[in-house]
Every structure is written in C-alpha cells, then in structure tokens.
Symmetry: C2
Subunit: 353 residues, 2 copies
C-alpha cells in the first residue's frame, strides 16, 4: 500500500521533530514490505507569512487534497499574532478538510511522569474525542462601536445538528468498538442554548447504543475529576473549546506536552486527515536540536491507526513507553541530555529490533 504524506513542518521546533517522525516512517517502510510512503514538503507557516503575507498558498487546500495524510509539526512564531497564524493554517485545514474529529489519547506511560500523587499508569488512560470543526471555534462574531464607551464584542458559537450529532455518534461507535464507557462533557447550566442542545443530542444518540455505559459531566466538574479521579474516564466526547482545555489538562496529568498527540480526522476519508503533536513551536529552543520528538512520533502512531495499521500504532506507543521506562537518553525537557536526533535514532533501533 502506498501512502502519500504531506509534510507541514511549520515553525520553531516543528521541522526538527517532524524530521524524526519521517525517520520513523522510513524505518517502518523498510521493515514492512506491504507499506510504502512518499513525502512532499510544504513551506507554509509563519516565516512564509512574513515573506508572502499569507500562511499558506491561496490554493493550499487543493494542493493538499490528494494526500493520504498530513503530518504537521507546529505553527506559531513571535511577531505573527496567533489568531492569524493558527486561524489561517491549522484551523483552516481542520475546517476545510472537515476534520471534525480530534482524537487525543491521554495515557500515562509511567507513574513517575504524572504530577499526581498515587496514580498508576492504568489510572490515567482515556481518549478525548473533541469536536473539531465548529462550536465555540466557528469564528463568528461582531465588534461594535469600536473605541466608544458602548463598545461591545460578540463571539458566537455555532452548534449544528449535523456537527453535534456526528461527533457524538463517532464517540459512541468508538466506545462500542473498544467496549468502554463514554462520558459527555458540557455546561448546560450556564450555556443555555448550545449546551442544552448538546445534552439533548447526546441523550438522543444514546438510545441507539444501549450497550454503552455513559456519564455526563459539567466542564468545571470534569476538569476537577481529571485531576482528582482520572480513573473515572474512558472515552470522553466534548465540544471544540472544552476539548482544547481538557486535553491540555490531560497532557498535564500524563506528564506534559512532551508526550501529547492529536489526530484531526475526517472519518469519511473524503479529505486527508492531519496528525500533529499538541505542543507548540517553542521558539526559545528552536534550532538547538534538543526538542523532544516523542509527541511527534506518537502522532505517527495515530497515522498508522488511521491507515489501518494498528499493529504498528501499538508498537510505536509501546516503544515510547519503553524509552520512558528506561529513563535514560531523554531530551532536556525530561531532565536528560540527549539531542532530538539521538532520541529518534534510539527509538528506531528499539522499534525495529
């Protein structure tokens, strides 16, 4: 099976970590006769913006359209406002390619990595299914009476029947497939339109899945439970903004952004899906060769799952676990002295041996 992968290394440490992910893909290709990957690289990001006044080519989406996957490094750089760099590249792809599912595993690999007392690896093992195409991030709003005392700014979340139902249904399917419970996170007691709607759709879809155990929490309570009782959660389905917050919180309890990955999935495969580490471009350490590539490598595991190569997906995650368990030769963010490339090389050795 040949898979065409579009590389968007992006800004800061993005290119450094994507390089390691590509090394991993090439190593897999070497090992597995059934798989072959071709790569094409795109220079889009903040530097491109500073030179060309745009984050990506005008026909960027159609250039990416025919790939099997997009592998993104990181976006964002001092001097380019975040709401430009992200809206015009990351969010544009998520939305343009209808990648309406954002899958973020929260999995503690080793007790030592969690900032929480007394949590074993098995206590922190959940999957957040985040709505990724609309909701609070719809970008709709208005800015009225600018500069006047009566100035007022409106930000409108848009929750469509289609958008809400499909993400909830996806999460139920995933819960059924994995034989796990599903928790919906919302906030109907204060968000009296959007979240009342969310809850009603959840209740409705639930009727089709009597075999799936469910729970429903308010986002404030869910945040608290993630810290106090993370073992409560298996699969979690939630809105775009809440998913953003809960997955960073998930990263925190599982050892930080150094190990957090996200897949932006178009389940119908009408468009390519996108795989990215959750961390940012970390301009302070960019170019030094010390960025931790493990989150970007975990993104490759998600890509493999998406290609139907779950065996490789599992193998990548267990190899990351092995590296973290052995606790030597890690990058400075984990207290080690290894370079980005050294970690990548060691990873490949373990993966392919």
């Amino acid at each position: 099976k040949e898979k065409r992968i579009a590389l968007l290394p992006g800004d800061g440490i993005g290119p450094e970590v994507v390089a390691e992910g590509v090394k991993v893909l090439k190593a897999i290709e070497q090992k597995d006769k059934n798989l072959s990957f071709t790569f094409e690289q795109f220079p889009w990001g903040c530097e491109y913006y500073l030179q060309n006044g745009k984050m990506m080519d005008d026909d960027g989406l159609s250039q990416l359209q025919h790939f099997d996957a997009i592998y993104l490094g990181a976006v964002g750089y001092p001097g380019v406002p975040d709401h430009v760099s992200l809206r015009d590249l990351l969010l544009k792809i998520r939305k343009g390619f209808d990648q309406y599912v954002n899958l973020r595993p929260v999995k503690l690999l080793n007790e030592r990595l969690s900032p929480l007392k007394g949590k074993a690896a098995k206590d922190i093992d959940l999957l957040v299914v985040r709505e990724n195409s609309e909701g609070e991030y719809s970008g709709e709003g208005n800015w009225l009476y600018k500069g006047e005392p009566e100035e007022v700014v409106l930000q409108t979340g848009v929750f469509s029947r289609k958008g809400t139902e499909r993400i909830i249904r996806y999460a139920f399917e995933e819960a059924r497939r994995q034989g796990k419970s599903l928790t919906s996170v919302s906030k109907a007691n204060a968000l009296n339109y959007s979240m009342v709607f969310w809850d009603s759709v959840f209740e409705e879809v639930k009727r089709d899945y009597p075999d799936v155990e469910t729970a429903s929490y308010l986002v404030d309570a869910a945040s608290m439970f993630l810290v106090m009782n993370p073992e409560r959660f298996d699969i979690v389905v939630t809105s775009n903004l809440f998913g953003d917050i809960l997955t960073d919180l998930g990263a925190a309890i599982a050892g930080g952004l150094g190990l957090a990955t996200g897949a932006n999935v178009n389940p119908e495969r009408t468009y390519p899906s996108m795989f990215e580490p959750v961390h940012g471009s970390a301009p302070d350490i960019a170019g030094k060769g010390i960025a931790n590539p493990l989150a970007a490598i975990w993104s490759v595991a998600q890509m493999m799952d998406h290609f139907g190569e779950e065996e490789w997906g599992r193998k990548i995650v267990s190899t990351i676990q092995q590296i973290m368990d052995e606790d030597e030769k890690l990058t400075p963010d984990f207290g080690g002295e290894a370079t980005t490339a050294e970690v990548g090389d060691r990873f490949i050795k373990l993966l392919t041996s």
Copy 2:
C-alpha cells in the same frame, strides 16, 4: 456596626452548612462589641420551585436589595433542570445585583491535601478574579430549525467595553494592593472576537499599572500550568466561563470543593454582595448531618473582608487551617467521622479561644 444578612440556604446540604456559618457569625458578634448581625431567611430554591413554579419571588431582588450581604448555601436538586435552578436564582442575583467580580481564593492549607506531588502550601496560593456578569454566560443565543436536519444552535458571548475593563481594572487594583503579579487568561488564538478584545483591553489597562508585573496565558496552557506549576500564579483575571473552569481546577489542586469559597462582589456597593461555598447541594448526603461546613465558613471570612473586618477574615482562614492541620474530627469527605455540627462547634471554640 450593624450588618443585615440575607440567608439563602437553598437546597440539599445548603441549609446544613449555612447553619454553621451563622453560628460562626453569632460567635463573632459575641466576641466583638463593634459588630452586630441580623438575619433574615428566604426559602427560595428548588423545593420552592416545585411548589410555586418559580425559583424565587417575582420581586425577589427588591426584597434582597437592602441587605448588606447575601449568604447562599447551595442551589440545585434532582428533578429541576440545572439551567432553570441556576439561571433563575444564582445567576439572576449575580447579574441583577451587578456582582461583576467573583473572587475565588485557591489556597493550599496543608501539603497533605493536594493531589499534586511535591507541592508545599506556599506553592498553591492564588486568587482568581472571575468576570461574573456577562461574557460567555450572557444567556444570549438562538435555536433555529428545531428538529429539522438544518437545525442550528447559536450561543453568543457578550463582552462589553465596560464589563471587560472594570473586571481587569479591579484585578490590577487588587494586584497592586497586595503587591502581587497579575495573570490574564484568555484564548485569542481561537476566539477571534471576544478574546482578541479581552487581550487588547488588558494591554490598555496595563499601561496604568506599570508597577504590576503581568503575564498572559491561553486558557488551555493555564489549565496545564495550574497542575504542573501552580506557583506561577498570584492574582489571575479571566472571563466568566474560564474562571468557572479554572476555579474548579484550583479547588482540585487545593484539596477539593470541601474548602472552596466564592464571593460575588458588587464593588460599588450599590447592591449587596453574595457569599457562597462553591460546592453544590450534594443531594446524596443531604439531611444526614455529615456535610462539611468549612467551605461555607470560609465564605464567612470573605464576607468579613467585604465588611472591612479583614482581621476576622484572616482569623477564620487560619482557624480552618488549624483544623485541617490537626486532622482529627473532620467530616467523612476528609475521611473523618465528625458531623457537620461537631466541626462547626469545634471551629467556634478554636476561633474564640
């Protein structure tokens, strides 16, 4: 000084914990010749709703108008949808009395209480200044094409110049008064109207406070930092929804809702301010006499601060600390066997001895 206090015990364990707070107020009155309190109790809440079809009297706000403070227990009960019970009582008072500042201290009293590894009490000591009157909670929205495939639900956050500037200014004043740093939490990279506006007002107001050190975080990053590096935060200013999430998270890292309090303040004192434990009505343990009253008692400390009786405020907090340090005679939520009244009695003995 005579202070008139309106009691709204509300639902579930509300009456039980408010009773202890009232005992504390009476004990203070006995000790302090300069202070006297009068109480009037209001029966509003979910039971009232089930009997009368409304959460509070139609002229409820004008009945409360002339009190010096409102002391609320908890609102919410099975059978009454949250978005009714809360919007029509709690949120109505917050909004109707322009209690636009929600002050929530996050203070770890004892290392043992935190779920976080290696955090000493001094590492977790912050104050969240939450916008409490508008923003995401404005209740504006629309529900279109109900039941049709094109059904779409809109939820609009309303951020006024006045509402945004006054909360940020309040927080800067508080930071200056306490000689502490101020962190703004927003999300401009995704919420392209409201949070871009929030950030611009923050930058603007900052110019009037060159002596205050500031930081600005995205809400996802802030959630992560609260768990990984809580010592980064002193005073935090943020929007209504983000404040809701961050303060529950704050409660989590400081030992749970059993010790979390919130003051809903109208700084101009045109209207009464309201003091409440953050926990809910806990119907499962209501009526058993085992609810933990310490959060409600901490609310009394905030009430004292608001009355200008900071000495009593500090004394109450340090007495709670003493009780937690001694770690005996606590309620079941803290692993003890004491009743609500026993904890209250012990508290008063320590406070007044």
